[in-house]
């Protein structure tokens, strides 16, 4: 089976618990060849989230990977949208309220309403 660290995440051992951020703080060594870092989020954490859903029976490895990658894209997207709000305030630091504004303004983020408090 997969001998190297799966999907290029920085954590070589995926069995850390939910609070195990110590492992994740390791520097993402720009290891081996092409496609070494297909996803930065550790698949184990994503898998833990998936398993938290009582309706989910099994999840294939590819599904976990796609979810991890989607979450990264989501973070990029919401950060940029929130930054637009900060720019309007001529600030160079993103604040919590920028995020709240983005969530209110962007339809796709509606699912987040009420979940971040």
């Amino acid at each position: 089976m997969a001998a190297a660290a799966p999907a290029g995440s920085g954590t070589p051992r995926e069995e850390e618990g939910p609070g195990g951020e110590a492992g994740a703080a390791q520097p993402q060594a720009p290891t081996s060849g092409p496609g070494a870092r297909l996803s930065r989020l550790p698949l184990a954490r994503v898998k833990a989230l998936v398993k938290a859903d009582p309706d989910v029976t099994l999840a294939g490895q590819e599904a976990i990977f796609v979810l991890a990658r989607a979450a990264e894209l989501f973070v990029e997207t919401i950060a940029r949208d929130a930054y637009c709000c900060a720019q309007q305030g001529k600030r160079k630091t993103l604040q919590r309220r920028d995020l709240d504004n983005a969530i209110e303004a962007v339809d796709e983020f509606a699912f987040l309403e009420g979940t971040l408090d």
């Binding site: 001998a3 994740a24 859903d53 999840a59 590819e62 973070v75 919590r96």
Partner: protein, 146 residues
């Protein structure tokens, strides 16, 4: 584990890095904003999982697969993610295939003396396991391999 799903946060360091790379140089992010984004990402995964699971159930499957997740993206109105996700998936599949062939080569070298039929059988089993088994067992295998 009496933790709420939303408490399963993704690593702060990684989230911060993704945010910084998405924003122009010199832009900072407050701790509260970063932590909120991290929580939002967790909520996103939970929501996407639930959506994807609906598709799997519609297809009378018990295992979430990649296309369920892609369908979920469409459902959640994140169509713009679909193309980059498909590309990433292709790359991931190539990488997995490469790793598999590498470890199979190792196995072949070790089992040179074994009956070749046995090898083919175990390879087929591995294929099934990839798709159906929960990764827990696979992760254990990973550790063993490492």
């Amino acid at each position: 584990m009496a933790e709420r799903p939303e408490d399963l946060n993704l690593p702060n360091a990684v989230i911060t890095r993704i945010i910084k790379e998405a924003l122009p140089d010199g832009v900072n992010i407050s701790k509260e904003a970063r932590s909120a984004i991290s929580r939002a990402a967790s909520v996103f995964v939970l929501y996407a999982t639930s959506c994807a699971n609906n598709f799997a159930m519609k297809g009378k499957r018990k295992t979430l697969n990649a296309s369920d997740v892609l369908s979920a993206m469409e459902e959640m109105e994140f169509q713009r993610f679909i193309t980059p996700l498909k590309e990433a998936l292709e790359a991931y599949r190539r990488e997995q295939k490469g790793k598999k062939e590498a470890s199979e080569q190792k196995k072949k070298d070790k089992d040179k003396k074994t009956d070749s039929e046995e090898q083919d059988r175990s390879r087929d089993e591995d294929n099934d396991e990839d798709e159906e088994r929960i990764e827990e067992e696979q992760n254990e295998e990973d550790e063993v391999d490492n």
